[in-house]
Each structure stands twice: as structure tokens, then as C-alpha cells.
């Protein structure tokens, strides 16, 4: 059985990737999946050596053949996404690929065409296999690309006999987050003791619970506001969420990032042992 763990945060910049990349270093037998597809950073630390590149096709996009078009305007009238301008040109950023214009056009002037919306890659890293992606600029289907990355990661886990997939999730609560957490064994939420951190933690806990997924919390930079750290602990207790551990604020995290290393590789600092113990907690809770 392959266990899947997703690390998310709701709020950005709380330290998801710092924690996840350390997990990659600590895991014996895992595939890493970077599912923060529109701002992927894990490759900066894991320096992947890519052996497979796949094109990702998202939704199709409408194209109007000017030679056939009589400017009747029916397509623009029916477009719910305001994607066809008065000159009957399609705004590819706004087009959501629904194909209503193609259906409604009396002249057969509209064609739905495939549009490459990104790439996803399989790579080797010093810690094992990794799947990562690059979403095209402003693309719609980030959730779909997340699903592609996860599917490929499952394939790699099977091919290589790995028993765990560690997923770095995106910020927020929308489609790509939902795609990154559905069906996983555990969601680890990395939060910070700021009022934004707590607010976003509460929202993302509700999302995970909405999809019936087990949740654990890790408080990063817990010592920048101990009062708020206590409130997070209290909130977790009240809601039956176990705390996997706390990580102090330390500039070692930025130094390690600048060196392109995971925190646990970079130093034998107190920080590393904290992350190790969080990893042990996470593993024992899923296995």
C-alpha cells in the first residue's frame, strides 16, 4: 500500500516547501510530488535530473476562422465568459473552452483547438524520484495538472516499489488545493502564529474536513508570537487535531535555501531535530 501525505498551509509563505523538502530527505522510500504547480519551488532545493517530460493539455480554446465568419455576433452573445470581443476575436485568457461558440456558429467558423497548458516531469533527485510541473501562464486547469502530477507520482511509486508519496501542496482553498488533498491519508498543515496564519489554518482545516481527510498541524516560527502559538494549540485541542510539532524561527532556513539544501542536510541545528521529530510523528500516524 502506498501512503500519501500532502503538506498545505492555506496562507502562503508559512514554510510548506521548507518542511516538505526536509521530509524528502528524511524519507527512506518515497516519491516526492510538487503540486504547487503555478509557483513550484521544490526543484530549487532538490535539483532534479529530469528523465521524462510530458505535455499537459488543459481545456481547449476557441478559434474563429475569419474567412468563414460573417460577424453575426451569435458566439459573443452566447459566451458566458466574455471571451469574444466586438471584432469576434477570442481572448484566450478568458476562454474556458466550453465549446458553446462552436455549437452556435451557423457558419462553422469556430473550431475548438488543443492548447498545451504546461508540462510535467519525472526526475531523479538525491533523495529518490520526483514528479513536478510547470503550468502555462494564466492557465485555467491547475487542478487538472495537479491530478496529472499525482497520477504520475503513483505510477512511479509502483514502478519503483516506493511505499509513500510526499506531496507539496499549493496555498489557498480552491481547485488546486482540493485536487492536491483528495484521497490522501494525511494532510499536514504548516501554520505560523500570526492572525493571518490562524485565519487561513481554520479555513483550510474546514476544507480538509469537508473531504473527510485526517489533519495534523505543525506550527512554524512558533516563537515569533508565543501567545498566538498558544491559541493555535488551543484551537487544535478543541477541534481534536494533533500537533505534529513546533519549529522555531531561525535564519538557518533561508541560509539553507540560498545554498540549495534542505534544512536537515544544511545543519545539525536544533531545527533539524525538530523537523525529524515532526516527520516521525507524521509517519507513525499514517502507518
Amino acid at each position: 500500500m502506498v501512503f500519501q501525505i500532502t503538506v498545505i498551509s492555506g496562507k502562503g509563505g508559512t514554510g510548506k516547501t521548507t518542511v516538505t523538502s526536509s521530509f524528502a530527505a528524511l524519507a527512506d522510500d518515497a516519491v516526492v510530488a510538487d503540486c504547487d504547480v503555478d509557483a513550484a519551488d521544490m526543484h530549487l532545493i532538490l535539483s532534479p535530473d529530469t528523465f521524462e517530460t510530458n505535455d499537459f493539455y488543459g481545456l481547449k480554446v476557441a478559434h474563429i476562422n475569419k474567412e468563414l465568419c460573417t460577424n453575426c455576433g451569435l458566439c459573443a452573445d452566447h459566451c458566458r465568459f466574455d471571451a469574444i470581443d466586438p471584432h469576434n476575436v477570442v481572448d484566450t485568457f478568458k476562454c474556458e473552452g466550453c465549446a458553446v461558440c462552436e455549437y452556435i456558429c451557423p457558419e462553422d467558423a469556430v473550431q475548438m483547438i488543443d492548447k498545451k497548458a504546461g508540462e510535467y516531469y519525472c526526475s531523479n533527485t538525491r533523495f529518490g524520484p520526483m514528479v513536478h510541473a510547470k503550468l502555462g501562464i494564466g492557465e485555467e486547469a491547475s487542478g487538472k495538472l495537479v491530478s496529472c502530477v499525482r497520477r504520475r507520482a503513483s505510477g512511479l511509486a509502483e514502478e519503483n516499489g516506493k511505499d509513500m508519496i510526499i506531496i507539496d501542496g499549493p496555498p489557498g482553498t480552491g481547485c488546486s488545493v482540493i485536487a492536491a488533498i483528495t484521497g490522501v491519508d494525511l494532510v499536514l498543515i504548516v501554520t505560523e502564529p500570526t492572525i493571518s496564519g490562524i485565519h487561513d489554518l481554520e479555513r483550510v482545516v474546514s476544507v480538509a474536513r469537508h473531504f473527510n481527510i485526517d489533519v495534523m498541524v505543525c506550527i512554524n516560527k512558533y516563537d515569533i508570537n508565543s501567545e498566538l502559538s498558544d491559541s493555535i494549540t488551543e484551537y487544535c485541542k478543541k477541534n481534536g487535531i494533533s500537533i505534529a510539532g513546533k519549529i522555531p524561527y531561525d535564519k538557518v532556513t533561508v541560509e539553507a535555501m540560498v545554498e540549495g539544501k534542505t534544512v536537515v542536510e544544511y545543519s545539525d541545528h536544533k531545527l533539524s531535530s525538530q523537523i525529524r521529530s515532526i516527520w516521525d510523528e507524521v509517519v507513525s500516524s499514517v502507518k
Binding site: G12, D41, G97, G174, S206, H210, M257
Partner: protein, 284 residues
């Protein structure tokens, strides 16, 4: 004047810049378009009043009329319609509300109805004359863009509108920053900050919006963000130092211009510079 505050990476300080800029300026509109995690009001504490639901249109079947022909299933590009042995099933969360299924149904068996996915709220502060408009996506809902688009219909063209955008480079970001007069990209001087900044720059260049950079937590990390901006000829319009006092105020939800009033003038200067950029562009 419409100014978007964006960044590829999350947690670089978008909300900090948006809120402090609004407070320093006064007489402004602040739109929280980070509808998945709206945080501006945590720093403002305005009394918010809900003024509108955000709904999307979804199909509803009249089983009496449906002949199970399956055209709606074949047409739907989002796999939001499925045919079961004795009925048609809709998956509302996959539906984009294009209306295609109702259009192709030969029996007129598909009606459309509204489904709420979020809400818009408003709060006003008389002291600074700031109007906050906030969008919130409901828990478990995937599509943020309709909430952002509906929120933006309330932009007041006669004043300064500051738009706090979501992180990333995907569709909710486009929905937030398209049609803006200027975009401020907030970053931090770390490798992650640089990587995500360069992605955001690609987006803004494609949208052809004038932009500049704010470096937050200046003094940590390394100098690669500044080297990048220099090479790409991107103006760095403000540097906010890494300062424990600012970090502590942030953690408590206090906008730092309130406790460090010398920063008010810096933000006003920032706004004047943005204005210069926009006018310069209009001339040439």
C-alpha cells in the same frame, strides 16, 4: 487609478503592502481579491456587511422531459454531466456554468438555476475614507475566478483602487490583475522569492501591464532578486527591511504604518511614483 498588488510566491507581503498603502493614502478603495484566503480585514477590523451572494449558473433537469439521449453528456467539456441507466446526473462543482447542456438539449429538459459559491462583503472607515470590498469563496468550492470577477465590478473608477491579489500565476491571478493600470509585485530576496517573481513577471508582461517590484524582508537572503531586476530593467519601487518590530506587528494584525508613521510618507511616495509611470506610459 487601479493598482494590483501581486506576487508569484505566497506570504511575501502582498496584504501588508495593500493595507499599508491604503491607510497611508486614505480616500481609497481596497479590494481583497484573495478570495480563497481573504486577510485584509484582519488588519483593518472594519465591520463588514454582506451585500451580495456570488452565484454561478448550473443545470437542473426536468426528468419528465428527458429522454436520456445523452447529448448534454457528450457536449460538456468539464465532465460535469454523466448518464446513469435511468437518469442524468450533474456534478455542480465541475460545472463552469457555460449553459451548453441546456443549449444542446433537444427536449428542453434542462433549466438553469443559481448556485451560491461565495459572498461579497463591504466595510467603510470614515476616518481614512477607505472602502474595503472583500470576496470570500465558500469552503469546498473550487472556482475562485467568478467571485473575483463579480467583486471587481464594484471598482470605483473615480478613486484609487488597490487590489490585493491571490498568489500564483493561474487563472485567479489573471482575473485579479487583468485590466489594471499598474501592478506591484511583492517579493522577498530568497531563491523561492526570485523564482516565483520571475514567473509573475512573465504573466504581467503577457498582460502588458506596467509594473514594478517591492522587496520585502530586505536584508535577509541574498542579492539575486536585485540583480535580476537590474538585468530585466524592472524598477524596484520600495524596500521594506527585515525588521523584528514589523514582523511582530504583522503577527498581531497591526498595519505597521500605524505604529511607524514615518512609513506613511514612503507609501505616499510609492503611489506618486506609480502615478508617474502610468502617465509616462500614456504619453508615449
Amino acid at each position: 487609478m487601479k493598482i494590483a498588488i501581486a506576487s508569484g510566491k505566497g506570504g511575501t507581503g502582498k496584504t501588508t503592502v495593500a493595507v499599508n498603502l491604503a491607510l497611508a493614502m486614505g480616500n481609497a478603495q481596497l479590494l481583497d481579491c484573495d478570495v480563497e484566503e481573504p486577510n485584509c480585514n484582519l488588519f483593518l477590523g472594519f465591520e463588514l456587511e454582506k451585500y451580495e451572494d456570488v452565484t454561478i449558473t448550473i443545470p437542473e433537469l426536468d426528468p419528465q422531459k428527458c429522454t436520456l439521449c445523452g447529448r448534454c453528456v457528450d457536449f460538456c467539456q468539464y465532465n460535469a454531466v454523466a448518464k446513469l441507466p435511468e437518469s442524468i446526473m450533474f456534478f455542480p462543482k465541475l460545472c463552469h456554468g457555460c449553459g451548453g447542456c441546456a443549449l444542446v438539449c433537444p427536449e428542453d429538459a434542462i433549466m438553469e438555476k443559481k448556485r451560491p459559491i461565495g459572498r461579497l462583503e463591504k466595510g467603510i472607515d470614515d476616518r481614512f475614507n477607505i472602502e474595503l470590498l472583500q470576496g470570500t469563496l465558500d469552503i469546498g468550492e473550487p472556482m475562485a475566478s467568478p467571485v473575483i470577477k463579480q467583486l471587481q465590478t464594484y471598482i470605483d473608477q473615480s478613486t484609487v483602487a488597490i487590489i490585493d491579489s491571490p498568489p500564483g500565476t493561474a487563472c485567479p491571478v489573471i482575473a485579479s490583475v487583468a485590466d489594471m493600470d499598474f501592478c506591484l509585485l511583492v517579493t522577498e530576496p530568497t531563491p523561492f522569492g526570485l523564482n516565483d517573481l520571475s514567473l509573475a513577471v512573465e504573466v504581467i508582461r503577457q498582460l502588458d501591464i506596467p509594473f514594478g517590484v517591492v522587496i520585502n524582508r530586505h536584508g535577509t537572503g541574498d542579492g539575486r532578486v536585485e540583480e535580476y531586476c537590474k538585468k530585466e530593467k524592472i524598477p524596484i519601487l520600495m524596500k521594506i527591511p527585515y525588521d523584528r518590530e514589523i514582523a511582530v506587528l504583522y503577527s498581531k494584525g497591526i498595519p505597521f504604518v500605524q505604529e511607524m508613521p514615518e512609513w506613511k510618507e514612503n507609501f505616499r511616495e510609492l503611489c506618486r511614483n506609480i502615478h508617474k509611470f502610468i502617465s509616462y506610459r500614456e504619453v508615449f
